[in-house]
């Protein structure tokens, strides 16, 4: 653990990412306290530029406070990003572990399924799913989880497969350990690093996917998210750049921070000094 922390914090990039991410999380959590009236309240004239009295980030097409919108948007992005990733990782680890460890027809089946999801255009599938399930927060989370779990399963299956063949896992079998014990004490601790790295990257891409969905109008109609802010500002973009640029920057900075963290995790968890 000490080693891990030392390597993780040794480079500036993961540190920067962690700080930025912490700020965004704080903003998301404190939003209701700071902006109690919610993002849909009209506070003034539409399309006021940032710096106008009382409006840190200006106002949007309908005259709502952009800053409030950005703060509440953070809640949605983080909620969707983290929840859908947790679901995807949960399903993916379960199926991938079983397929990778036991092999056989289970593994064949899983491989076919993950290949299928790799080949078909998953965003279009997601659109169909969300459209048919009726756009809402839960359909977004479920949709993203359903479309991304195969990635996790593939990575987990690969790790379990390769670890199962390693001599120390074979040794565990000869020592009389039961399968469950082997999986939890021998295989999983060694498979965890790539899972963590993939997971952290997936939160970022889930946020991007959610923003794309809400940009197209497939997000929850009752909630304001960064993507829907951009989608709603299309007509005003040419005259009021902040209505488009700011939410987009918010997305980019959040995802970048997450990718920085993921990069740091990759370095810290990578057993390169394994001799």
């Amino acid at each position: 653990m000490k080693d891990f922390l030392r390597v993780f914090f040794s480079r500036p990039i993961p540190l920067v990412g962690l700080v930025i991410f912490a700020v965004i999380v704080a903003l998301a959590l404190l939003a209701p306290l700071l902006f109690g009236r919610g993002p849909f309240i009209i506070v003034g004239m539409p399309l006021l530029p940032p710096g106008a009295p009382g409006l840190l980030a200006g106002s949007d097409v309908l005259g709502r406070d952009m800053a409030v919108g950005l703060a509440y948007g953070a809640r949605i992005s983080l909620l969707v990003g983290i929840t859908s990733t947790l679901c995807a990782v949960g399903i993916g680890v379960l199926l991938g572990a079983v397929a990778g460890y036991y092999g056989g027809w289970l593994d064949d089946l899983l491989m076919r399924v993950t290949e299928f999801f790799q080949i078909i255009p998953s965003f279009v599938l997601l659109m169909v799913l969300v459209a048919f399930l009726q756009p809402s927060l839960s359909s977004t989370v479920i949709g993203i989880a359903l479309v991304t779990w195969p990635q996790v399963a593939r990575v987990v299956r690969g790790e379990f497969l390769s670890l199962r063949g390693r001599e120390f896992v074979q040794a565990a079998r000869t020592l009389g350990m039961r399968d469950a014990r082997i999986i939890f004490t021998q295989v999983l601790p060694n498979a965890l690093p790539p899972i963590i790295v993939v997971g952290s990257m997936m939160v970022g891409s889930a946020i991007l996917t959610e923003s794309a969905l809400s940009f197209l109008g497939l997000g929850d109609p009752n909630l304001l998210s960064w993507g829907s802010m951009i989608g709603g500002s299309r007509s005003a973009m040419w005259v009021a750049w902040w209505t488009t640029v700011l939410p987009g920057l918010a997305i980019m900075i959040t995802v970048l921070a997450l990718n920085f963290i993921g990069d740091g995790l990759n370095d810290a968890l990578n057993p390169r000094r394994r001799r």
Partner: protein, 534 residues
């Protein structure tokens, strides 16, 4: 006579952060024309990097920081890149250890040979192919024309190495550098390649710099030999001088550590065998959905018996089925047919439930010291994992672990450390301790010393033998090295293509082998008879 190569005070530095500053620390050597010089040493001795330095093919970050390497009087280290390029492949050529990795997988053999020829001579592709074809024939390869159109993965290991040698000789270099060219090959193939190299050296009157870790190979090949350790030359001289009267203690230790192919052991009585295997069979299916799935008989009706207090050696080359057999005995694999009577019960097809209490009585030591221990567990956790799985008390297990670690020559104080903090030999000891904790009756050792340096190898072999005696175990010893088998095994069984070719007391099998294959295995032992008995 003017030396062909004169290395003077060569220092090769490693990048910052490595465990030592210099891989080669002030080495001076010379190679005369028309001679074979062997550099022998263990891992980390710097022998390979010295050879790479001559070709200026050092890896990224590693540099020849000081000294000279004179090739026919010109300092190679100070040559311009284009002059160096002209020298490579034409004046000096090199072949490497793993021929599969050393050939470009997506280019045909023919193209790989012709590109070398055409890089140095103005020849047409057609003519170059002709030359390539005759070179391959000279190397003893059949159907050279067809071979030219093949890809590396379609050839066997021995064929690939011959192709590498053909490539190296294509421009008649004055010096051939061979960096452990046979280490990755089967012992019979190794013998053929060594013979080939000796023949072409004599025919072309060129010099050969041969890097190896095996003194047996030195005895067979070298005119002169240099012993390296920790980046320095420890001893140097003609092969008869160094072998007959080694001056340095390290040289003596290296020579002594090479297992002699002579067995001193008497077989043990077989009246009440602990393990009795009859007609064991294990098949693997090859090919996917759309090919004709063919069954490979990895183990083909093998029978054996094993009694307490003896070591049975199972010897074979790669693909012989010896490892598969071992894994069937310990039930890491499930046999397809046959019976295995262990203390009266047939464990061949037993269900996992019934098998479990018996499992602890058959234990295994694995081959690869680097992957046989869980990198994320401490040594203590690894060693007590077995007893804990059987419900043993933690305190009890810990104290026994301390005793067992002492038994295998490790300090129990180091129990809290992680595997990567130990050397290869120490890790094998940990693996042995792990196996012994369950107080087994049978210990299976699957190539336990193949990945170790020869001096460490000797220690671990001795330890295994001592432990077997002390705990009155029965041991099944898997190896590809006949010399090792001779040293520790009472009886030996030779396997080939899944079948038992010959078996019997080691002394008898070695002295008077009845099968052709065993004879070829014995003939292939490097340095047989040339290394003085200890």
């Amino acid at each position: 006579m003017e030396p062909l190569i004169a290395i003077k005070d060569l220092i090769v530095s490693l990048p910052p952060g490595a465990d030592r500053a210099h891989a080669v620390d002030g080495v001076s050597l010379s190679i005369l024309p028309n001679e074979i010089l062997c550099i022998v040493g263990e891992s980390g001795s710097g022998k390979s990097l010295t050879a790479h330095a001559i070709m200026r093919l050092l890896p990224r970050g590693v540099t020849a920081s000081s000294g000279e390497i004179l090739f026919e009087g010109t300092d190679v280290l100070r040559l311009s890149p284009s002059a160096m390029r002209k020298l490579r492949g034409a004046g000096v050529a090199m072949i490497f250890q793993d021929p599969m990795a050393a050939l470009n997988p997506v280019v045909t053999i023919g193209k790989q040979i012709t590109e070398q020829i055409r890089a140095h001579r103005a020849v047409s592709e057609k003519d170059a192919l002709e030359q390539a074809s005759s070179l391959l024939a000279e190397m003893g390869l059949k159907e050279p024309k067809a071979l030219l159109k093949s890809f590396p993965h379609q050839l066997s290991g021995g064929q690939r190495q011959r192709v590498m040698i053909a490539m190296a000789l294509s421009l008649s270099p004055k010096l051939l550098i061979a960096d452990e060219p046979t280490t990755a090959l089967d012992v019979t193939t190794q013998a053929q390649i060594l013979k080939l190299i000796k023949r072409i050296q004599a025919e072309r009157q060129m010099s050969v710099l041969f890097i190896t870790h095996d003194f047996g190979v030195v005895a067979d090949m070298a005119d002169r030999v240099a012993v390296m350790r920790h980046g320095r030359v420890v001893e140097e001289g003609s092969v008869s001088d160094v072998l007959g009267d080694p001056k340095h203690s390290y040289t003596r230790a290296l020579i002594a550590a090479v297992p002699r192919g002579e067995s001193m052991l008497q077989p043990v009585a077989q009246d009440a065998p602990l393990l009795s295997v009859k007609d064991l069979a294990k098949n693997f299916r090859r090919g996917g959905f759309f090919s004709g799935a063919s069954a490979v008989k990895a183990v083909d009706r093998v029978s054996l018996t094993l009694s307490r207090g003896e070591t049975l050696g199972i010897v074979g080359e790669s693909g012989s089925g010896k490892s598969t057999l071992a894994r069937c005995v310990i039930r890491l694999l499930d046999p397809d047919a046959g019976e295995m009577l262990f203390d009266g019960a047939d464990i061949a097809h037993m269900g996992e439930r019934q098998l479990r209490p018996l499992r602890r009585r058959i234990q295994m030591v694995f081959q690869d010291p680097f992957s046989s221990l869980n990198p994320r567990q401490t040594v203590g956790e690894i060693v007590i994992a077995g007893p804990r799985a059987y419900g043993e008390d933690m305190k009890e297990a810990r104290s026994r672990a301390a005793d067992i670690l002492r038994l295998v020559g490790l300090n129990p104080e180091t129990m809290h450390r992680f595997p990567h903090e130990f050397s290869g030999g120490q890790r094998q000891r940990i693996g042995l301790a792990r196996a012994l904790m369950l107080k087994p009756d049978i210990l299976i050792a699957d190539e336990p010393v193949s990945a170790l340096d020869v001096t460490v190898q000797a220690q671990v072999l001795k330890l295994l033998d001592d432990v077997r005696q002390q705990m009155n175990l029965a041991m099944l010893f898997i190896t590809h090295d006949m010399r090792v088998a001779a040293q520790v095994c009472h009886r030996v069984m030779v396997m080939r293509h899944g079948q038992v070719v010959e078996s019997g007391p080691t002394r008898e099998v070695f002295a008077a082998p009845s099968s052709e294959y065993t004879r070829s295995l014995l003939a292939a032992i490097p340095g047989r008879g040339k290394l003085a008995s200890v």
